[in-house]
């Protein structure tokens, strides 16, 4: 697909395929188009050219909420909780709107998800009172509540300390084990390399390398993109 903003081509003919159940890593320097890419996939933005197919269905004409109902969920790089709602209620939104549970079932399910992610004791806390790492977890929990087949995690670990990164990584591995395809965007190279089965590197709106973590690390273009010529 391609995406332009005015005269600026954020994405130029980016083509990629992700297999079901795969753990897929997306890396690239700032401004390379990673967030634009997932915005196009999730429906926050419309791509100008090209097509997006999900499980055999063409989805580039669908609104974002329709794509979510088909199984695509994402977490936000800068957490965007529903700040007037409690942690629990934040999860009830997707459980009600995507999974179509009634109120009582949604609350029970929300609590269960919070327990698996370690936020159960904060269920009634207003979401605007959480710490950074708790917010990140809430972002992931909310995405989980949408019962996705594809989860896009946008820099969920940015700014977190070592053990916190471990916590989030554990959650993502666990999710993948249940069959959810995960696309991980990260700057923390260690995490990406450990997690991904395949990695793609973007630079200035184009794919410059594709392969296993080992391939990527050795690639000269990737090194140049990150460290400069």
């Amino acid at each position: 697909m391609s995406k332009r903003f005015g005269g600026f081509a954020a994405l130029s003919e980016v083509s990629l395929e992700v297999a079901a159940g795969e753990r897929f890593g997306l890396i690239g320097p700032n401004g390379s188009g990673k967030t634009t890419l997932i915005n196009c996939v999730s429906g926050a933005l419309r791509n100008e050219a090209g097509s997006i197919a999900f499980r055999g269905e063409e989805i580039s004409r669908l609104a974002a909420y329709q794509r979510t109902r088909r199984g695509i969920a994402r977490s936000f790089q800068i957490p965007r909780p529903f700040h007037s709602m409690s942690v629990l209620e934040n999860l009830v939104v997707p459980l009600g709107y995507v999974v179509r549970l009634n109120d009582a079932d949604a609350r029970a399910e929300a609590l269960r998800i919070l327990q698996t992610i370690g936020l159960a004791d904060k269920a009634q806390t207003p979401s605007n009172r959480l710490s950074q790492v708790e917010l990140r977890k809430l972002e992931l929990a909310r995405a989980m509540a949408a019962r996705p087949r594809l989860l896009i995690s946008d820099e969920a670990m940015a700014g977190l300390a070592g053990n916190e990164v471990e916590e989030v990584l554990k959650i993502l591995f666990a999710l993948n084990a249940t069959g959810i395809t995960i696309i991980m965007i990260e700057h923390i190279m260690q995490a990406v390399m450990r997690f991904s089965q395949r990695v793609i590197c973007l630079d200035a709106g184009r794919i410059i390398c594709e392969g296993t973590p080992a391939d990527i690390v050795k690639n000269a273009d990737v090194q140049r993109a990150y460290l400069g010529a």
């Binding site: 999730s42 429906g43 926050a44 609104a63 974002a64 909420y65 979510t68 109902r69 969920a73 994402r74 936000f76 965007r80 909780p81 529903f82 700040h83 007037s84 709602m85 209620e89 009830v92 939104v93 997707p94 009600g96 709107y97 995507v98 109120d103 909310r142 509540a145 949408a146």
Partner: protein, 313 residues
């Protein structure tokens, strides 16, 4: 259940008052206050719950009034029918305005609602059938038993309409629709990504809001026995409908009601004792003061007070 008891009590109270020997002036003023309850409640459905600020209440109100006049003049329609028709037309206007601008950022929607006021007022000024720029007189139909005066009947009608408006607002607030609207208000981008059909919900809120505002406007021509563009599309309606929920509190259906009753009563007193310009000034100043100092309105202040009381025990 408590709510419905309250509704029944209010209906009984309003009717009882209308049939009693209470001073006629009470019903003149009471009608206006009840009208503001409807307008403030209607405004809050889109403004308070979803976070989209409508400056154009006057447009929906005015079109409701003119719809009622058209139906009355063309077919001698009874008040109930006038109200329904006004709600339908104003609801359509709300839907149209929303369709055009709710895809964009909030401020563009707000400016568009100002545009709607102007365009509607200009259209009515140029329409001879409803009196054009000078307006026209209207002859009230004979009043039904058991009401003594037409104004008393209008008072009861407006009371019922106010209860309908509040019931609708309350239903929206506690239902899954309300949760979706709140999600939109908190973070529209996230809401859309988590399954909330944001455009549809916003259009729904805008349509319902517009319809209720039109319904409130329908009784106006009969109340005044007169209709003309400047007073029907007066910006005071827009400022009041915005100020009352801000003052009362926007997250709960009681907020607009409190704001309307308080501010509406203040307006009546100031207009009669001082002047109508000072009245508008007071509304503007109160709006700014509350928006800056008490963002959650009176309900918010009461909540904080409740906490203080609880924690001091």
């Amino acid at each position: 259940m408590k709510f419905w008891i309250g509704v029944a009590v209010t209906v009984a109270l309003a009717t009882g008052l209308a049939l009693s020997r209470t001073n006629e002036y009470f019903f003149y003023a009471g009608f206006v206050v009840l009208q503001f309850v409807v307008l403030a409640t209607a405004w809050n459905i889109l403004g308070g719950y979803a976070g989209y600020v409508n400056f154009g209440t006057a447009a929906f109100f005015g079109i409701g009034a003119y719809t009622a006049v058209v139906l009355f003049k063309a077919a001698g329609a009874p008040l109930a029918l006038q109200i329904l028709a006004a709600a339908a037309i104003s609801g359509l206007l709300g839907f149209g305005t929303g369709l055009l601008t709710l895809r964009l950022r909030g401020i563009f929607f707000s400016i568009a609602t100002v545009a709607v006021i102007f365009i509607m007022e200009t259209a009515m000024v140029n329409w001879r059938y409803v009196g054009g720029a000078t307006g026209m007189q209207l002859l009230r139909p004979p009043v039904m038993e058991p009401f003594e005066s037409y104004t008393r009947m209008l008072f009861v009608a407006m009371a019922i309409l106010a209860l309908v408006a509040v019931s609708i607002a309350r239903y929206i607030e506690v239902s899954w629709i309300g949760r979706g609207l709140r999600a939109i208000r908190d973070s529209e981008e996230a809401a859309e990504c988590f399954g909330v059909p944001t455009l549809r919900l916003k259009l729904f809120a805008c349509t319902v809001s517009g319809a209720l505002m039109g319904a409130a406007g329908a009784a106006m021509p009969m109340y005044m026995s007169f209709i003309e563009p400047p007073s029907s599309f007066s910006l005071t309606y827009s400022v009041s409908a915005l100020a009352m929920p801000m003052i009362g509190g926007t997250s709960h259906w009681l907020g607009p009601v409190i704001g309307a009753i308080l501010l509406g009563s203040v307006q009546q007193i100031v207009t009669v004792t001082i002047s109508s310009e000072i009245n508008v000034l007071v509304v503007g100043v109160l709006l700014v003061v509350f928006v800056v100092a008490a963002p959650d309105g009176i309900l918010g202040l009461l909540k904080k007070l409740g906490w203080l009381l609880r924690s001091s025990r």
